[in-house]
């Protein structure tokens, strides 16, 4: 019996050593500084920490095959869904073996918000272990049913019986709710709808008459109703510029943003804590809507190649065509990306505290869990 145990021990020591040997970098004979040698014949996994259900999934699956030709060695890309735990579990799984530089994380603003609030379930450190590569931005637009009598944005404060319906008042919805809070027009908020589809049906039925949608959703279905005069567009969430100020949405250049509308009604630019929180959430949900991350311990040659690939791809005709057809917005790369990504990797603590109190008091939502 004893000899069995000791031979088992010996075996495990040997296999542990062998495995450790495999993990040693530089066992490749090729030049470590040559990206083509690093990537040749490899398959890069893109981990999506949520289900295949549209949105980010479609975007990632469209972009991934294009990336290959902008990376030396032309590795192939494989998109893998790892749903669960509000996108935390998939992120953890990615981080566990992302140091080889052969897997990327394509997260969403849900993940970013959990990261900014420091959810302890993450097994890695967002301030040290990740580097942003690019982000697919998304705008959103608020509108009302014309039956409310609203004809222009300034009519919002005179309208009666405005009702908005959403899913649960969690982090993802907070930026929209905050815009209602800042503008402070009379609005009834109902939660519990199953999906965006359900709120759209309820809007058609008249159960709801005020809504906000992402640019893609608005253009594919609601824009038709705007043309028919059934829907009145009111304002957009906006984007953050290089100086950290909110600017107009390039897809809706004629519509005011939340702070502009505030100024038009109240006569001054907003300057409250609420507005600071709004800017923070706008960076997370507009500019950084669907960010791609690489592990910071990945080989430098790989990190540089990825960053360059996203920049090159963003400028290609093929990608511009995809932007026109489907995405609507250019890829966020370079300085603007680094600025926005700080909101995740180094979030403003005071704003987080204010936001946590706001969500808890107004909606009973604990953002800090």
């Amino acid at each position: 019996m004893k000899s069995k145990i000791s031979s088992l021990l010996a075996l495990s020591v040997v296999s542990a050593l062998t495995l450790a040997g495999c993990a040693q970098p530089g066992s490749d004979t090729a030049d470590p500084a040559d990206p083509a040698a690093f990537f040749a014949g490899k398959t890069i996994e893109i981990i999506l920490p949520f289900d295949a259900d549209g949105g980010t999934d479609i975007t990632a699956r469209l972009i991934a095959p294009m990336l290959s030709k902008y990376i030396p060695g032309n590795p192939s890309f494989q998109v893998v869904n790892r749903p669960g735990g509000n996108s935390i579990l998939g992120s953890n799984e990615w981080a566990r073996d992302a140091e080889d530089g052969l897997s990327l994380l394509w997260s969403s603003n849900t993940t970013s918000l959990e990261a900014a609030f420091g959810n302890p379930a993450f097994e890695f450190d967002w301030s040290e272990d990740v580097l942003p590569l690019a982000a697919v931005p998304t705008g959103s637009i608020m509108f009302a049913n014309s039956t409310t009598g609203i004809k222009a944005p300034q009519d919002l404060w005179e309208a009666e019986g405005l009702r908005y319906g959403g899913l649960s008042p969690d982090g993802g919805l907070m930026v929209q709710l905050l815009s209602y809070h800042i503008l402070d027009f009379p609005l009834d908020e109902v939660f519990g709808y199953e999906s965006q589809s359900a709120t759209r049906i309820a809007f058609e039925q008249g159960e709801l008459n005020f809504d906000g949608q992402s640019t893609a959703a608005y253009l594919s279905s609601t824009a038709e109703k705007e043309a028919a005069g059934e829907v009145v567009p009111l304002y957009t969430k906006g984007f953050m510029d290089d100086e950290g100020e909110i600017v107009r949405d390039p897809m809706f250049p004629d519509l005011m943003t939340t702070p502009e509308l505030y100024e038009a009604h109240f006569g001054e630019w907003p300057s409250s804590d609420a507005y600071e929180a709004y800017k923070f959430l706008t960076a997370l949900s507009s500019d950084l809507s669907k960010p791609v991350w690489v592990h910071s311990d990945a080989p430098q040659v790989a990190i540089d190649a990825y960053r360059k690939a996203f920049v090159d791809m963003a400028e290609s005709d093929e990608f511009k065509e995809l932007v026109d057809d489907e995405l609507g917005y250019d890829l966020v790369v370079g300085a603007r990306l680094d600025e926005a990504a700080k909101m995740v990797t180094d979030p403003p603590q005071e704003t987080l505290d204010w936001l946590r109190d706001f969500a808890l008091e107004e909606y009973g939502t604990d953002l800090n869990r």
Binding site: L62, S168, G192, S195, S221
Partner: protein, 551 residues
């Protein structure tokens, strides 16, 4: 419109598009046969392929896949009692007992023909409803959806087979399990015990696998027999099953009507419709209703329904651009990539050929898919011949893999085993398990639509005409069945007095004793001593086991 329909048909009948459709059908069948992989995964793999395709070819590919996903899953449901997809659970109720009786072929034949007819009727429905869809969909607001959920929950009584209290408790247990995770209308976490795995709740496929597959497999191993106790007819009955379907054409029409109509309404999920079809079939069949024990009519109703549902699902997708689920959300994305923007303009002249080609694809793909399934039925159904000790380990691996597919976290396996244990105990104690699943599916819907209804309409929602109509239907149904039951039990009392029978049903009572004794071998010998009659019965059972055992 007929002219336009014929014109659309000529668009489809090109070699290239038929080839794409065939590919779609093959993918769809594969996704159906392999448990745990839903349509959404298949659709998302097609997205890069359809980008830049011409719309008719892309539609042939995507709709071809969607059309038959509910056909392929019949194999696993009937042959091994494992749900192939979330929408195909009701087929297990009677399909699997039929397979155990050795009538797998008959069950498959009936199911496939019913699927095909359901799919075609669903396509016809889609064609006919196009001008009327808008007002119908818009008449189902939150209060009406709440009532639909309540009607669905009332099925629990129907599906619990003479044990309403146990059924209700199982239903409540299902609802309780459904509350795990983020609450629907607040951002509260419920029963998550600080485990991130539980944030998004327990997946439907895990509940379905745990509740149906695990107890059956354990039992199969305990008995150590083949799935088909009587092997003679396993592959022979396909024709007979198809004749069964034709004979029960009323059930096919009923199932398709329920499936396509309810499928049209966003907010009523596929699995709910599946059980509603089963419940409806069970309550319309009067003559020797043996639903739940291997009645072929229990296969026909839901199978016709679930293929028709796909036709219904497409109505809101095409007319409003509003997806009914993950699969149709990705379909919408795919259509947009090909320049087709779903919405009211789909019925205007310039888009009509596209809409009609979708209808045609749905019908043709159903015929194609069924033909393939019938060809495959004979070889595949031989799985029921394999002795349990060889088949069961493989099947357990399949079930666990299917469970692991849902999020690929270890928690999936723990959840499916935990639920399997609960379900195993329930089965041994003869508690109905279906209500658990129905409660699980409908619990969140009931909660969410109740919250919305009261916060939007106060209590006025009760007086909406649609709600009153459904309420009348519900109360009427309950009163009617209660009256019928009390008449029947009075009859039974008279019989019992005359025959001097014990109140326990002799057949089921015996079965439960046998099962319990088998699973708890420790009590076995004591029971023997205590009840000499049981001893003799067990012995005769064991002898039969020995005969069945292939050596």
């Amino acid at each position: 419109m007929i002219d336009a329909a014929l014109e659309a048909l000529t668009f489809i009948f090109t070699f290239e598009r038929l080839a794409w459709m065939t590919l779609g059908v093959l993918i769809g069948l594969f996704l159906g046969v392999v448990p745990g992989i839903g349509g959404a995964v298949g659709m998302s793999l097609l997205i890069p392929v359809v980008y830049g395709m011409d719309p008719y070819s892309g539609i042939a590919l995507m709709i071809g896949m969607i059309a038959v996903m509910q056909t392929g899953d019949t194999f696993t449901a009937v042959l091994i009692g494992v749900p192939g997809s979330a929408g195909g659970q009701a087929t297990i109720m009677d399909g699997y007992p039929m397979a155990r009786r050795g009538e797998a072929g008959r069950a498959l034949g009936a199911a496939f023909l019913a699927s095909m007819l359901g799919g075609i009727l669903g396509a016809i429905f889609l064609f006919a409803i196009i001008p009327l869809a808008r007002p119908i969909i818009l008449s189902f607001a939150s209060p009406e959806l709440f009532m639909m959920a309540i009607i669905g929950l009332s099925l629990v009584a129907l599906l619990s087979k003479g044990a309403p209290l146990k059924g209700a408790l199982a239903g409540v247990l299902g609802m309780l399990i459904s509350t795990v995770g983020l609450a629907p209308s607040t951002a509260d976490l419920r029963f998550t015990f600080d485990s991130p795995y539980l944030y998004s709740g327990v997946g439907l496929i895990l509940v379905a696998l745990g509740v149906f597959a695990i107890p059956e497999l354990v039992e199969l191993m305990v008995e150590n027999k083949r799935i088909a106790r009587d092997g003679a007819k396993v592959t022979a009955g396909i024709g007979q099953g198809m004749r069964d379907t034709i004979r029960n054409w009323r059930l096919v029409i009923q199932g398709s009507a329920i499936g396509s109509f309810l499928g049209m309404i966003p907010g009523i999920a596929g699995p709910v419709i599946n059980w509603l079809c089963y419940g409806a079939a069970s309550s319309t069949v009067r003559k020797d209703n043996r639903f739940g024990q291997g009645d072929v009519r229990g296969v026909i109703g839901p199978e016709a329904g679930n293929n028709a549902t796909e036709g219904g699902h497409l109505v809101p997708v095409l007319m409003f651009g509003i997806p009914a689920g993950a699969t149709s959300a990705i379909l919408l994305g795919g259509l947009a990539l090909m320049g087709v923007n779903a919405g009211p303009s789909m019925v205007e002249d310039e888009n009509l050929p596209i809409t009609l080609s979708i209808v045609w694809t749905l019908a043709i793909a159903n015929v194609l898919g069924t033909a393939l399934c019938i060809l495959l039925a004979t070889p595949i159904s031989k799985i029921a011949f394999i002795p349990a000790r060889r088949a069961a380990p493989f099947l357990i691996a399949v079930v666990l893999l299917a469970a692991f597919q849902s999020t690929r976290q270890w928690g999936d396996l723990l959840v499916v085993m935990g639920l399997g244990l609960i379900a195993f105990v329930m089965k041994q104690l003869q508690w109905p398990r279906v209500p658990l699943l129905v409660g699980f599916v409908l619990g969140p819907a009931a909660e969410r639509y109740f919250t919305i209804s009261t916060s939007v309409y106060g209590w006025d929602w009760i007086f909406r005409p649609g709600v009153l109509m459904m309420l009348t239907l519900l109360v009427g149904g309950i009163v009617y069945s209660a009256l019928r039951k009390s008449r029947r039990s009075r009859l039974r009392e008279i019989n019992q007095v005359e025959l001097g029978e014990a109140t326990v049903d002799p057949d089921t009572g015996r079965r439960s004793i046998v099962n319990l004794a088998r699973s708890a071998r420790a009590n076995y010998s004591r029971d023997r001593r205590l009840d000499p009659k049981l001893d003799r019965r067990l012995e005769s059972d064991e002898k039969r086991d020995d005969l069945d055992e292939p050596r």
